[in-house]
């Protein structure tokens, strides 16, 4: 009687323990890669892949100023081959499951990414949630130049850096999966966060000059006047046409794009005082509701109607004029409307010139077609550059900050 039970248990345990999953790997036997950079290699048809590998921070073993990551670069024909080569240079087994960012050099991005994007997507170890960055120079220089000034690790740095993008709307985060979806879409083009290292000299490079009534210029990464701290900058957006990068949007343009995507959480706007143009006014803006976008086919070109509700709070009034009063408030709202309208029109015009529908207006034109086949027939990406754009911006200043009345400084 017991022999059957015993035999059963023996067979079961043998089955489990001998044929069990042998993919187990102790946590200290694995090299955790936190960032991958991809550049064009010097050799023809090869890519240079840079791996940023985290060093487990053993207490007391870390010297002063010592980095907690190691940069390893190798050149290979494909990204998977590069992984094989990496295995030959590190004692630990490289693991991609903790990659936070994928940095692509601008040169390679402009040539096209389609070749290796598929292999990144297909292999299970790469996370769909890693963020995509385009570096103005090379990805290796960017990863090398990254010296987080606060005491946080490289992986934490990328996570918090990309999370905090919503605070100003000057750069947008995009995950690998989102990028991939847009790469395959016939209604929108992909975009990626634009990054660069600055030389910390404090000089500035304006990408898009300020519009009438505004006080702020648009920068792209590398152009922000910066001194001290971590030299790397996240600013602007790299926009793509298909898998090829075609240009960049500046910080102010990126903010308008965020409004159109419905991602705009929060951001200051500095503009001219409508009654005292030498002085400025600061308003903190956020989206009041999701943007209302309608795209119609139109007679000769598609017509895009955009309606955006902004809600604001006054944060600074140096002129001392009582904009808090009901009679003055519309003036202020008018000023915001005018600045945003102009910036948004410029931004859309810029993308039309580059033939890159990064906002994804293509999704909104779909209701115009009776079936999907008809839509496929329609050359949306060509038509987009000719589209007519009507923008209505409605601003409501809801709060006046912590002061209810202004007196001029005497």
């Amino acid at each position: 009687m017991y022999i059957r039970l015993l035999l059963g248990i023996m067979l079961l345990s043998m089955g489990v323990f001998l044929s069990g999953c042998n993919g187990a790997r102790e946590s200290e036997e694995v090299a955790y890669i936190v960032a991958i950079g991809i550049d064009k290699a010097e050799q023809e048809n090869m890519i240079k892949v840079t791996y940023q590998i985290a060093k487990p921070n053993v207490e007391g073993n870390k010297g002063e100023g010592e980095k907690d990551t190691v940069l390893v670069s190798n050149s290979a024909v494909t990204i998977t081959e590069s992984l094989n080569l990496l295995n030959s240079t590190t004692s630990l087994v490289p693991s991609m499951s903790h990659v936070k960012v994928l940095v692509v050099g601008q040169e390679l991005a402009r040539e096209g990414l389609a070749n290796f994007w598929g292999s990144l997507k297909r292999y299970r170890e790469y996370r769909g949630s890693m963020f995509v960055l385009v570096a103005k120079g090379t990805a290796r220089d960017f990863l090398d130049g990254n010296k987080p000034s606060f005491n946080i690790s490289a992986s934490k740095y990328f996570e918090t850096m990309l999370d905090s993008g919503v605070e100003a709307g000057y750069y947008l985060r995009v995950s690998f999966h989102q990028f991939y979806i847009r790469l395959k879409s016939n209604s929108a083009h992909p975009y990626a966060t634009f990054v660069d290292i600055s030389d910390l000299s404090g000089k500035k490079e304006i990408a898009t000059p300020k519009v009438t009534g505004s006080k702020i210029d648009g920068y792209v990464a590398g152009g922000i006047p910066l001194q001290g701290g971590n030299p790397i900058q996240f600013a602007g957006t790299a926009i793509f046409n298909g898998d090829k990068m075609v240009g960049t949007l500046s910080t102010t343009e990126t903010r308008m794009m965020a409004m159109l995507l419905g991602n705009f959480n929060n951001g200051f706007l500095s503009m001219e005082d409508p009654l005292a143009p030498t002085k400025f006014i600061n308003v903190n803006l956020r989206l009041g509701s999701a943007p209302e976008i309608k795209v119609a086919l139109g007679d000769e070109a598609p017509v895009i109607d955009i309606k955006i509700l902004l809600e604001g709070e006054i944060t600074n009034l140096p002129s001392g004029i009582n904009y808090e009063q009901e009679s003055f408030l519309p003036l202020l709202e008018q000023q915001v409307n005018q600045v945003c309208h102009q910036e948004m029109a410029n931004m859309i015009h810029h993308t039309q010139e580059l033939k890159s529908d990064v906002v994804g207006f293509g999704y909104y034109i779909r209701p115009e077609f009776t079936n999907y086949q008809d839509y496929l027939q329609y050359p949306w990406f060509e038509e987009y550059s000719r589209a007519k754009v009507n923008i209505i911006i409605d601003t409501k200043i809801r709060r006046t900050g912590l002061m209810i009345r202004t007196y001029p400084v005497r």
């Binding site: 489990v16 323990f17 069990g20 999953c21 993919g23 187990a24 790997r25 102790e26 946590s27 200290e28 694995v30 955790y32 936190v34 985290a54 487990p56 921070n57 053993v58 207490e59 693991s95 499951s97 903790h98 936070k100 170890e125 996370r127 690790s153 992986s155 934490k156």
Partner: protein
């Protein structure tokens, strides 16, 4: 001659140098008994029953002699005297001798007891015969615990009386006041009082004792003597009287030690069965609360009390419990846990199928729900049955505290149970198979901590689990108050130094400590140990197959629980199978909302309280109004 001297010398030197075993007395060796030897050799050996048989034969021979004497006497008298009166007298004597024969016949037809303890012997009318049997049973005069007192009562006629009791189990005062004194000062009895009438006369008129009962067989006599009663034999009576004279030392009622509660009653059961049943009765004053006594054990003769409320409890359940207890044949049971193993449905399963409690209030509550409680002499734990898995996760003061607070505590308890079952296996599975599921920072610090540990994670877990169990078991066995101190110090020092010596990683200490702590959040000690046992299976499954293994194991675990039954009641009721929710499963509802008794118990009366259980809410009060 010279040669022999030298050889003598050599022998002397040899004797001096060569090791000689020291002279020792013959050592005592505990060898097998003759019976065992004979059994091993395949021979037949007469057992103790043979001596009983011999006694029986002697008894019969005595009877035959008596019969012979009677016949000779009657024939002589018939010849000599006048017929009428003599025939009457002989007839009476003959009837007496005939009844004696009937008894002997009945007695010889019955199966003989095998242990030589006269379990089937009936009390003889001859007091000397009875004394011989008692001396043989109790190994007198070797055994000093048993006292036999021979007295003579009543002047006309003189009756020989034998009182037997166990010294130490009785109260001497009670024996003197309620037994010896009234018997010795007994008034003369009428001559016509004979046999059975005599016993009832004595019980009615002369024994001022609360409990006195007639006993007819030596089995009953032994049971009475062994539990502290005194037995009185009268010459010429085929029965004896057992008088309650219990008066042994026992532990007084104390506080619960394994089921402490902040609120609720602070009484706990003790080792004496009668005290325990009384404690339940002090909580539950129901007239139809029945306590049935079932003796268990061929040698132990322990009493087992089965308690239930007649008007509520399902009769089939009571019958089944009694049937199972009656079906036990063993020599001795002193602990309720052992009794449980004899009667439960799945004794091989580590999960407890009864609720073991030392709190009378808990027993009372469960009895009122329609469950059965069993107690056994000598054990301070009562067992409540049938129970579900969920009952075991309840604690005694769940209903004394606020509803929401209790439910939060219950949530903590359930999470604790889950942690104690799965935490080490989940840690092992995730840290070796599914590293992507750990936040990068945490993973890096785990890797850093593990970098200098030479063993794989599974060895770390087993090592720490083993040390934890060692501390637990060792701490329990260290005598006296040292236990807890040494346990804590051992745990602290062992944990600290194991980490410093890089034998285990600090995170493993956290995992094991948390698991150990979590296992103590399970209120039932036996349930906690079952969880602790199952945990190791999960660890091995996690080692072999990662999360898949843990998931498969958990599925089997749930299936096992679903198949389990406690005295016919599904273990996971009322969840699987789904029955009417009584309002006290994982979380509890308000006491006044629990209108029905647990559905799965199929009690006779389903309704616990009438529909408006708070009728004062619908009545108007005499006080003022709020807004006045």
């Amino acid at each position: 001659m010279k040669k022999s001297t030298s050889s003598n010398l050599i022998t002397a030197i040899k004797d001096f140098l060569v090791y000689q075993p020291p002279a020792q007395p013959t050592p005592f060796v505990l060898t097998e008994t003759q019976a065992e030897k004979a059994e091993n050799e395949g021979k037949f050996c007469p057992s103790a029953a043979v001596t009983e048989g011999i006694r029986e034969l002697e008894f019969m021979v005595n009877y035959a002699k008596k019969l012979d004497a009677f016949m000779k006497k009657s024939s002589k008298e018939l010849r000599s005297k006048e017929k009428h009166e003599v025939v009457k007298k002989i007839k009476a004597e003959f009837e007496m001798i005939q009844t004696e024969w009937k008894e002997i016949k009945k007695h010889t037809i019955q199966n003989h007891s095998i242990d030589g303890m006269y379990n089937n012997a009936v009390i003889s009318t001859d007091i000397n015969e009875n004394q011989n049997i008692l001396e043989s049973i109790y190994q007198l005069p070797l055994n000093k615990d048993v006292v036999i007192r021979n007295i003579t009562i009543s002047d006309q006629p003189k009756i020989k009386v034998l009182v037997i009791f166990m010294d130490g189990l009785i109260d001497k005062k009670i024996i003197n006041m309620t037994l010896l004194e009234p018997l010795m000062f007994m008034k003369n009895i009428q001559e016509n009082v004979q046999g059975e009438d005599f016993i009832s006369f004595v019980m009615e008129e002369c024994l001022p004792s609360g409990q006195a009962s007639r006993v007819g067989s030596f089995k009953e006599v032994q049971q009475a003597i062994n539990t502290g009663d005194a037995v009185v034999f009268f010459d010429g009576c085929g029965e004896a009287v057992a008088v309650e004279t219990k008066g042994y030392e026992h532990r007084s009622i104390g506080n619960p030690t394994t089921e402490q509660s902040v609120r609720g009653s602070q009484n706990a059961f003790t080792e004496v069965l009668r005290v325990n049943t009384a404690l339940v009765r002090t909580m539950l004053h129901a007239s139809d609360l029945v306590t049935e006594m079932i003796p268990i054990g061929a040698r132990g003769h322990s009493n087992c009390a089965v308690m239930y409320i007649k008007s509520i409890t399902n009769e089939e359940l009571v019958e089944e419990v009694k049937r199972r207890i009656n079906g036990i044949s063993t020599d001795i049971i002193t602990d309720s846990g052992v009794l449980e193993h004899f009667i439960e449905d799945f004794p091989r399963n580590p999960f407890p199928q009864t609720l073991s409690t030392e709190r009378p209030d808990r027993v009372a509550i469960h009895l009122s729900e329609g469950r059965v409680a069993i107690f056994i002499d000598g054990s301070p734990f009562g067992h409540i049955l049938p129970v579900s898995f969920f009952t075991l996760m309840h604690s005694s003061d769940d209903f004394s505290l606020n509803l929401y607070y209790t439910n939060m505590l219950r949530l903590v308890r359930w999470l604790g149970a889950l942690l104690s079952l799965l935490l080490p296996s989940l840690y092992l599975a995730i840290s070796t198979f599914h590293q992507e599921a750990i936040p990068t920072e945490l993973l890096l610090s785990i890797a850093a901590a593990r970098a200098q540990v030479p063993f794989p994670t599974i060895i770390e877990i087993l090592f720490m689990e083993f040390s934890f169990e060692l501390i637990r078991e060792g701490g329990l066995r260290i005598p006296g108050i040292l236990g807890s101190t040494i346990g804590i110090v051992g745990a602290l020092i062992l944990g600290q130094t194991a980490v410093t010596a890089k034998i285990v990683s600090p995170i493993m200490v956290i995992v094991i400590a948390l698991t150990g702590l979590a296992s103590y959040s399970i209120p039932d000690y036996r349930l906690a140990s079952a969880f602790r046992l199952t945990r190791f299976i999960f660890v091995f499954l996690a080692m072999a197959m990662g999360l898949i293994g843990v998931a498969c194991g958990f599925l089997l675990f749930i299936a096992m629980l679903c198949s389990l039954k406690s005295f016919g009641m599904p273990y996971l009721a009322p969840l699987a199978p789904k029955t009417v929710n009584g309002g006290d499963t994982i979380f509890r509802s308000s006491s006044y909302h629990q209108k029905r008794r647990p559905d799965t118990l199929n009690s006779k009366d389903d309704i616990r309280q009438k529909k408006p259980s708070r009728s004062w809410l619908t009545e108007s009060s005499k006080g003022g109004k709020d807004h006045e």
